[in-house]
Amino acid sequence: MKFKSQKIAYYFFALSMLLLSLQIVYGFINGFAHMGYDGLHEWIPFNVSVTTHKNLLVFWLLSGFMGAAYYIIPEEADRELFSVPLAWVQLISFAVVGVAAVIGFHFQWWEGRKFLEIPRPLDYLVAVNVIVFLGNIVWTLLKGKKSSTTAWVLTFGLIFVALLYLPGMIYLDNIALDSYLRWWVVHLWVEGVWELVMGGILSFLLIKLTGVDREVIEKWLYVIVGLTFLSGILGTGHHYYYTGGPNYWLMIGGIFSALEPIAFLGMTLFAVQMYRKGNKNHPNKLALYWTLGAAIVSFVGAGVLGLAHTFPSVNIYTHGTLVTAMHGHLAFWGAYAMIVLAIISYAMPQMTGRKIYDSRNGHLAFWLSNIGMLGMTAAFGAAGVAQVYMERIVGLDFMVSAKAIQPHFFVLIIAATVFTTGITFYIIDFVKFGLPNDEAMKTAEDEFEVVK
């Protein structure tokens, strides 16, 4: 850690851990409900628990991205963060909005649009919050002694994340038009600008962990984010096949979204290649596991499983089924959850001075969470394919197929328990790190500082 102000990242990461834990609780509620045990129906009906589960996901990932930016930008810009008090205000107000949203859901205070459920007043507060965050980060970078491709890709990613939130705030009477713009947020976030954020964080971690020359790593970063947008922008069309869009989206969305996995394949090859090229001596093995893991699992979850149901001829059967849930879970986990856990694993020793680089807890966390998530993906996949066959091909009644696939949710819950055990170990280590402190600045030296 080079600057004291980087320590603010810790508190964003801590918020992420809290929100993730709550997200998991609601995930279990959802799983049990699907299995036929909807005991909380009177107080937490399914639409409340699923909305809470999804929004907690987005909040904890955004909090993780913000923490990552607060840690990375001062270091890349070679100066203290512009304003630590402002960062505190931003953190607390972000947490307040998140808590208000989650509590609000339980009282049916929401917008009822998938992924954009938080009510309009809170949207404005989020917008203000993000402007404050971006102002702080961008000013730090502009007034820094240095800057870098990594820093700017990350920063522009975050700027566009903010800008792309705006299309979701337009109210339209026609639900198909409404949904068209809604995907400008959701798709262009997770299959677009969030990949800029992931790429920036991945680049930073590979520079630190492998010692490979920055110029090489950053060149490949440009290639990867280039591939992302070349495919992902027109790939948005895969959300327009069957939601009222003109039929040219079938061809355009189909071809371009099928190309989207190439960007993730690029990340995988890039990360593994840089690791092999590097000197493999960095002591933080766990950070390396999470970094390479993110690059690999994102390719499987986002890339391969996305490809599996993106062709229009397949999608007409799977659209709106649990096959989507299968893809969504492994994709979000591999691409975004793991990269946040990676930057946390890297930054925590730096901020606290405790060298938890290779702990048993940490390894258990990595393997159990990944094995658990793979198990969950398989369970969703089995449930989804069975649902598609029964409902969409044979034409059985929805509840007939829903009852028939209940055993898959039993497997889901077992796998989710393995996953949760992994996350528990991760959080135990997180707590063991203790609080960030200034003494850590000199004790956790990076042996592989790339000289600019």
Partner: protein, 141 residues
């Protein structure tokens, strides 16, 4: 081989080009394609009120519409022709929550106007052309 500058150009140029194409196609979709496919001209005040109710109650949190939503309850785009307006109205305020097959729906307290608005909404969605979705199940007896 590829230089960093070339890679940067690839990224910026490619993004700009495809963003422009996407913008153009979007304008066509938003102004022409979607309003035509969804019979925009048939949207009455009842339909608009129904859409608002759909959102205010987060129906999408259990159901899917145009295949979008959650997977806990049936797909509703064609529910109007599949079940008819009376069935639709019956499920909303059903005492204890509608749950004919064991999975419970929330019990609402909709007025007659609200129920009619939702029926209007589903009557409108029933007529949408969605490029063939939802398919007629090919193996249905």
């Amino acid at each position: 081989m590829l230089s960093k500058k070339q890679a940067k150009l690839f990224f910026l140029g490619g993004t700009a080009l495809f963003a422009l194409i996407f913008l153009g196609l979007s304008i066509d979709s938003l102004v022409n394609g979607i309003p035509k496919n969804t019979n925009d001209h048939l949207m009455t005040d009842g339909v608009k009120a129904g859409k608002l109710l759909w959102e205010e109650n987060n129906c999408m949190g259990c159901h899917t519409l145009m295949g979008e939503g959650a997977y806990y309850a049936p797909e509703l785009t064609r529910v109007h022709s599949r079940r008819g307006p009376d069935y639709i109205k019956a499920v909303f305020n059903f005492p204890g929550g509608w749950g004919p097959n064991g999975r419970k729906m929330v019990q609402y307290d909709f007025t007659d106007k609200e129920k009619q608005d939702l029926v209007d909404f589903f009557e409108w969605t029933d007529k949408m052309y969605l490029n063939g979705f939802p398919l007629d199940p090919p193996l249905k007896k």
